[in-house]
C-alpha cells in the first residue's frame, strides 16, 4: 500500500536496521562523524588528517598522529619519555589511572615533546594528548613542556605548543596549579631572547592550560570549532543564569572577540606554520 510507505514503523521493519545497530559502526574499520554522522573508512579518515570529508569536523588526534601529520618524516626526536608521574597527594586510584592511560596511549604522560623539522625548519614542539587523563596538566606535563621550552631557548629555535587539555590535574592539587607558573617563567625567558612561540589550540583547550601557556603565543592559532575557554560552560550558566550562545567558547567565537590571530583548517596548518616560522627566521638572518 502506498500509505504504508510513509509510516515509520513499516519502514523500520522493512529496510532499516534497528536503532542499536544503527549506532554501531564497526569499531576500527569505519568511523562515524559525531557531527554529521557521515561514516568514513578509518584508513581514509587518517589520510585526510582525521577531518570529516563531508562537514569538516576535526576529530581529536593523538600526539603521535599530530607529529606524523606535521613534522618532516624521520626528524622528530622525542624528549623526556623517562619521567614518571608520582602520586604526591596520595589520591586513591590515581596511580592506576595514569598507568592505564600510559598503556592505552603509549606515552609516559599527557604531552609528547621533542625537536624536529617542519618543512625543513628546526623547531621544538610539545603536543598534548587529550586521550591521556583528558590532557590534564600535572607535574610531569608541566616539567616536559618546560624542558621543551628550555631546549628551544637553548637552541635558539621556535617553540610550538599544541594544546589539548581539560586544565590542571586535580589529583596533584596545587602542584598542578604551579605548573602554570613554571611553564610561564620558561616562556618569558624564551621571549626575552627574541625567540618565536606559536600556540596552537585544539579541542579542548580549557582551564589552567588556557589560562597559561596556550593564550600567550606570539601568534595564537586554533583549529576550527575547537573548544577554548577558562571556565566551563555549565559553571558559567549556573552563575549568570542566562543561555549562552551556541558558538560560545569556540575558536570562531574567540577570533570574533580578538583572542586569536587565526583559525586554521588542519589541512592548511603545516603550510601556515612553515610560513610563519620562515617569516621569523629569515628576518633574523637578514639582521
Amino acid at each position: 500500500m502506498l500509505r504504508d510507505l510513509f509510516t515509520g514503523a513499516k519502514k523500520q521493519n522493512a529496510i532499516m536496521p534497528n536503532a542499536k545497530s544503527k549506532n554501531d559502526v564497526p569499531e576500527g574499520i569505519m568511523t562515524k562523524c559525531p557531527q554529521c554522522k557521515h561514516v568514513e573508512p578509518t584508513k581514509e579518515l587518517a589520510k585526510q588528517l582525521k577531518v570529516c570529508p563531508k562537514c569538516d569536523f576535526h576529530y581529536k588526534m593523538t600526539a603521535q598522529e599530530r607529529i606524523d601529520s606535521l613534522v618532516d618524516e624521520g626528524t622528530f626526536v622525542s624528549m623526556d619519555d623517562h619521567l614518571v608521574t608520582e602520586n604526591p597527594l596520595e589520591f586513591p586510584s590515581y596511580a592506576a589511572k595514569v598507568k592505564k592511560d600510559a598503556e592505552k596511549t603509549g606515552l609516559n604522560e599527557a604531552v609528547l615533546t621533542g625537536t624536529g623539522k617542519i618543512d625543513g625548519n628546526d623547531v621544538a614542539i610539545a603536543v598534548m594528548d587529550p586521550h591521556f587523563r583528558m590532557g590534564s596538566m600535572g607535574s610531569v606535563v608541566g616539567e616536559k613542556i618546560t624542558r621543551a621550552v628550555e631546549k628551544a631557548t637553548e637552541l635558539g629555535i621556535p617553540m610550538l605548543i599544541f594544546s589539548a587539555s581539560g586544565g590542571a590535574r586535580m589529583q596533584e592539587g596545587v602542584l598542578s596549579l604551579m605548573q602554570m607558573a613554571k611553564t610561564s617563567v620558561a616562556l618569558n625567558r624564551h621571549s626575552e631572547k627574541g625567540l618565536l612561540y606559536i600556540s596552537i589550540m585544539t579541542y579542548p583547550t580549557t582551564g589552567g592550560v588556557s589560562a597559561s601557556f596556550a593564550s600567550v603565543g606570539d601568534i595564537n592559532l586554533a583549529e576550527p570549532k575547537a573548544l577554548i575557554g577558562f571556565a566551563g560552560r555549565r559553571v558559567i550558566e549556573q552563575t549568570v543564569r542566562e543561555k549562552l550562545p551556541e558558538d560560545f567558547q569556540t575558536a570562531e567565537f574567540l577570533l570574533d572577540h580578538g583572542q586569536l590571530d587565526a583559525v586554521v583548517h588542519r589541512v592548511d596548518l603545516q603550510d601556515m606554520l612553515s610560513r610563519i616560522i620562515r617569516l621569523h627566521t629569515e628576518g633574523k638572518a637578514a639582521q
Binding site: H82, L83, V84, T85, E86, P88, L89, F91, N108, S139, V140, G142, E143, T146, A168, M170, E172, G173, V174, L175, S176, L177, M178, Q179, M180, A181, K182, S184, V185, A186, L187, N188, R189, S191, E192, G207, G208, S210, A211, S212, F213, A214, S215, V216, I228, G229, F230, A231, G232, V235, I236, T239, V240, E242, L244, F248, Q249, H257, G258, Q259
Partner: protein
C-alpha cells in the same frame, strides 16, 4: 554567613558565661572573682586547645570568615600615604582587584590585592572578590608602573578564583591571567605575595608569580575550591570537607610541598580577632623579605623567581 564558626561554639559559650557572672557581680554584692578567675583559666586552655588544633575544614572556615581582614584593611594598617589607582586603560575598573602606591617603612611600594566585600551590597560591586580580565590587566599595569619607578610590589591574594562569566570569557579571562604569569616572571623589581584568605586557582596565581610567597596561618591555596573538587570527585559539593582534606590546601601543606617560603602566624583564632596585631605579624615578615630582596639586582631577581617556580613538581625518573 554566620559569624560564629561551629567549632568555636564551646569557647563562645564559656565567654558568655564569664560575661554573665561578671555582670552579676557588678549588680549584686557577691564576690565571684575566684570563680571568674577559674573560668578565665579554663577559657584560655579551651582557646589554646581549639584554636591551636584546627583541622583543614576549620581553617577553611576561618579563611572565609566574613570579618576576616581584607586587602583594604591591611593597606590601612601597613602602608602610609596610600593612593588608590584605578582602571586598566582598556575597558574598565574592576573593583575585585584594588591597587595603588604608598610607602612601607618610609619607602615607596606598589600594593595590589583581591578585594572581597564586607556585606552583600559591596560583594555585588566587587563580584565577591572574583576578578574579570580588566582586574588582572589593571594589576599588570600597576606592576609595570612599579617596575618603571623601581618600586617593590606587594600582592595580597584573597579570591575564590577568577570570575566565571560570559563577559569575562569574551574579554579574554584566560589571556589576562596567562599574561600576568608570563609578565610577572620578567619583572625587574622585588615581588612579594601573601595569601591572606582564599587562594583559588589561576585567579589567585595571577598575582602570585613572586620572589617570596607567604601564607597566613589559616589561609588556603588550591587548584580548585573544595566544593568544586567535591562535585568532580564525588559528584556532590556537600563533600567539600573531605575534598578540602584530600586536596592539601592549608599553609602547612604548602610549606611541606616547598611551594611557599614561610607561614605568617595568625592571632589565636584567626586574624579577624585582632587585625592590628595581625598586620604587625605581616609587617615583620615584609621588612625582612624586602631587605633580603633589596640586595638582588634586576637579573638576580628574575633568576630568583625562575628558580623558585622551575623546581616545583613531584615526579620520578625511570
Amino acid at each position: 554567613m554566620k559569624k560564629t564558626m561551629s567549632f568555636e561554639e564551646p569557647i563562645i559559650k564559656l565567654r558568655e558565661k564569664i560575661q554573665e557572672l561578671t555582670e552579676f557581680t557588678e549588680t549584686n554584692e557577691v564576690d565571684l572573682s575566684a570563680e571568674i578567675h577559674n573560668l578565665n583559666d579554663r577559657l584560655a586552655k579551651l582557646e589554646d586547645d581549639i584554636y591551636g588544633n584546627m583541622d583543614t575544614w576549620e581553617r577553611v572556615q576561618v579563611a572565609r570568615h566574613p570579618e576576616r581582614p581584607t586587602t583594604y584593611d591591611y593597606i590601612g594598617a601597613l602602608f602610609e600615604d596610600f593612593i588608590e589607582l584605578h582602571g586598566d586603560r582598556c575597558f574598565g575598573d574592576d573593583a575585585a582587584i584594588v591597587g595603588g602606591i604608598g610607602t612601607f617603612n618610609g619607602k615607596p611600594v606598589t600594593i595590589i590585592g583581591h578585594q572581597r566585600g564586607k556585606d552583600t551590597k559591596e560583594n555585588v560591586k566587587r563580584t565577591f572578590g572574583m576578578p574579570h580580565p580588566e582586574g588582572y590587566r589593571k594589576a599588570l599595569r600597576l606592576m609595570k608602573q612599579a617596575e618603571k619607578f623601581k618600586r617593590p610590589i606587594i600582592c595580597l591574594i584573597d579570591t575564590k578564583g577568577a570570575y566565571p562569566g560570559r563577559a569575562a570569557e569574551e574579554r579574554g579571562q584566560s589571556e589576562a591571567i596567562a599574561r600576568n604569569l608570563v609578565e610577572m616572571a620578567g619583572l625587574t623589581v622585588p615581588v612579594i605575595s601573601i595569601v591572606i584568605g582564599e587562594g583559588g586557582s589561576g585567579g589567585a596565581l595571577a598575582l602570585g608569580v613572586a620572589n617570596r610567597i607567604y601564607m597566613l596561618e589559616h589561609s588556603t591555596y588550591s587548584v580548585i575550591s573544595p566544593e568544586g573538587a567535591a562535585s568532580i570527585l564525588w559528584k556532590d559539593a556537600a563533600y567539600a570537607k573531605e575534598a578540602a582534606e584530600a586536596m592539601k590546601i592549608t599553609a602547612p601543606d604548602l610549606l611541606k610541598m616547598e611551594i611557599i617560603d614561610e607561614i605568617i602566624p595568625e592571632v589565636l583564632g584567626g586574624g579577624h580577632r585582632n587585625p592590628k596585631v595581625q598586620a604587625e605579624y605581616m609587617k615583620n615578615v615584609l621588612v625582612k623579605s624586602l631587605d633580603e630582596l633589596g640586595k638582588l639586582d634586576e637579573n638576580a631577581l628574575i633568576q630568583d623567581r625562575y628558580e623558585k617556580f622551575r623546581k616545583i613538581g613531584v615526579f620520578s625518573v625511570k
